[in-house]
């Protein structure tokens, strides 16, 4: 045996206490905790981008707690919904704090999840054997989008109402059944009381489905453990360290920094991500001059509007998300990390830039140059997945991949010294 390089925790039972023993025999909860924290081996070279997952999980928790608290004071009735939000902001003790946490939490959740996904794309985390881990992640993204969309309708401001109208109206593009489906979704011919009520109920329900999918995501993750910046799987014991205390401490440190930024927005720029127009009560008779969804939907909204007809746009928008399900098989390269993929690496950054361009176009009216740029960017978005990734995997001559994670760490160490 090689001598231990860093302090490992001595293998001691977590449950000396007879009650704990009794419980653990019948419900192995302490064994489970020990297995997933103490004994769970993790690559030792994870960088700060690997904090995203735990931060997103904590944000989900923050959203659920703040959301349940808001739900106790919110009234999902078109005549009172807007006023009940104002009552929360003005009359409920620290209501403004709870609501601003919830509102900004949604944006931060998407920032974290998008970063988490871009990290997976850069380091090839979706590749074998982690394809299902990735697919469950995309399902979580879809659930988050549905939850966020319905949550945005609840304050019953101008953008809430018109956003709900525009998005539900998309389903009318479905041939034959379109109008019936829209009516079924809305609970009537128009966005009204039944719509608001069911959106509230579903907005309350879906986060708990997200929790369930996060659990599945974690089970998938723990099957093979985390990928790492080298993209090389763990080969020997010196490649890895136990999750606790190393990554618990690193995640907690990351959390304090994250909370600093989060608090900065909640306390000093709480409406940064909000549209001012949504502080005006919903008015079905007055269409706002400019209807745009929240920033996290803008790239998909741009794709929707790039198609000349409505059905095409709807199919395009849903394909833009669905294509992610096939990513593990569209990328033909066996090499995971972009660091050793000289052709893919710049193309990854072009893809990011393209996503930002789509986000910018989503804000703009679909006319003139904006429409042309939007169409090109949409084309490039799909080309990246359907043409570039398969072809690059085939054409590319990868650099030499380190033989192990420890070898990678040595290389990085020497590189930093220079």
């Amino acid at each position: 045996m090689t001598k231990k390089k860093h302090p490992q925790r001595p293998s001691r039972p977590l449950y000396d206490n007879p009650v704990s023993k009794w419980i653990d025999k019948r419900l192995p909860v302490f064994t489970f905790i020990r297995h997933s924290l103490d004994e769970y081996p993790t690559p030792k070279n994870l960088n700060w981008l690997w904090n995203g997952g735990s931060l997103a999980g904590i944000t989900l928790l923050i959203m659920i707690i703040s959301g349940i608290t808001l739900g106790m004071h919110y009234n999902p009735d078109p005549a009172d919904a807007f006023n009940s939000i104002e009552r929360i902001m003005r009359d409920v003790n620290y209501g403004w704090l709870i609501r601003y946490i919830h509102v900004n939490g949604a944006s931060f959740f998407f920032i974290l999840v998008y970063l988490h996904m871009f990290r997976s794309m850069y380091y090839g985390s979706y590749k074998a054997p982690r394809e299902l881990l990735w697919i469950v992640g995309v399902l979580i993204l879809l659930l988050m989008m549905a939850t966020a969309f319905m949550g945005y309708v609840l304050p019953w401001g101008q953008m809430s109402f018109w956003g709900a109208k525009v998005i539900t109206n998309l389903f009318s593009a479905i041939p034959v059944f379109g109008d019936s489906i829209v009516q079924w979704l809305l609970g009537g011919p128009n966005v009204d009381a039944p719509t608001l009520h069911r959106f509230f109920v579903l907005h309350y329900l879906l986060p708990f489905l997200i929790v369930a999918f996060v659990a599945i995501h974690l089970i998938c993750l723990h099957q093979f453990g985390s990928n790492n910046p080298s993209g090389v799987e763990v080969k020997k014991s010196e490649d890895q360290i136990p999750f606790h205390p190393y990554y618990t401490v690193k995640d907690l440190y990351g959390l304090t920094i994250y909370l600093l930024v989060f608090a900065g927005f909640v306390f000093f720029a709480p409406n940064f991500f909000m549209e001012a127009v949504n502080y005006n009560p919903a008015n079905p008779l007055v269409t706002p001059p400019h209807i745009a969804p929240e920033w996290y939907f803008l790239p998909f909204y741009a794709i929707l509007r790039s198609f000349p007809d409505k059905l095409g746009g709807v199919i395009g928008m849903f394909s833009a998300v669905s294509v992610l399900f096939f990513l593990p098989w569209l990328d033909r390269s066996k090499i995971k990390s972009a660091a050793y993929r000289p052709m893919f690496r710049p193309l990854f950054w072009v893809f990011i830039l393209n996503c930002l361009i789509l986000g910018w176009i989503g804000q703009k009216p679909p006319q003139g140059w904006y429409l042309i740029i939007g169409r090109l960017a949409t084309l490039y978005y799909f080309a990246h997945f359907l043409i570039i990734l398969p072809v690059v995997g085939w054409l590319e001559r990868p650099l030499t991949v380190p033989s192990s994670i420890s070898e990678y760490c040595k290389r990085e160490h020497n590189r930093r010294k220079k």
């Binding site: 690193k250 907690l252 440190y253 304090t256 127009v277």
Partner: protein
Amino acid sequence: MIRLFIIFILIISPPCLADATTRPPEQTHWSFATPLGTFDRSAMQRGFQVYKEVCSACHELSHIRFRELSALGFNDKEIKAIAADYSIKDGPNDEGEMFDRPALPGDSFPNPFPNEQAARASNGGAFPVDLSLIIKGREDGANYVHSLLTGYGSAPTDITLFEGKSYNPYFEGGQISMPPPLVDGQVTYVDGTPATVDQMSKDVVTFLSWASAPELEARRQMGLKVILYLIVFSMLMYFVYRSVWRNVK
């Protein structure tokens, strides 16, 4: 980030799609606009006077209760007196009749019109908006409302005003139903401040900014403590992290 990116793009993009008829708001210095800024109490009181004597003839302030005016520096007795000036429709009483009574500190500011139709009928078809959220409900709200209140002028020759409209370049489309609401010396300030249009506008914008976000000062005070706490906590966590990881090569 996203907004910065968008602003950057807006700067470099050609101005071909900008709405030529609407002028962007003039930028004014506000005491509450800085990260730790507070509302100027005397400006708020003057602004409340302007709201009470001018704006409240048409505009409601439904989300504010009289007792909240303590934030302006009024004491309980003064608030009771202010409230008593307003009349509230209450009831039904034991005989089943609706009745009028003087407002109490727990009441909201009453609506100057019984309903939207009545408001439109007295204002040439236009509906005077509720001012409780006017600052938050407009992009760059404080500057926008101040620009709007002080920005009335005669229409350029190429614009024909509709019946009952006034020209205001800061209003979307340039034609606004509200006639110029302020003229110099319209109110007599108790503290002797000269009541110019600019002064009254600044004061009422300060008051309405408070009405939009009454939690603003408490929020910033708490935020400062939270941030300081997190800075210390993150530094401690940094040392814990470094000490746990010191042997990982």
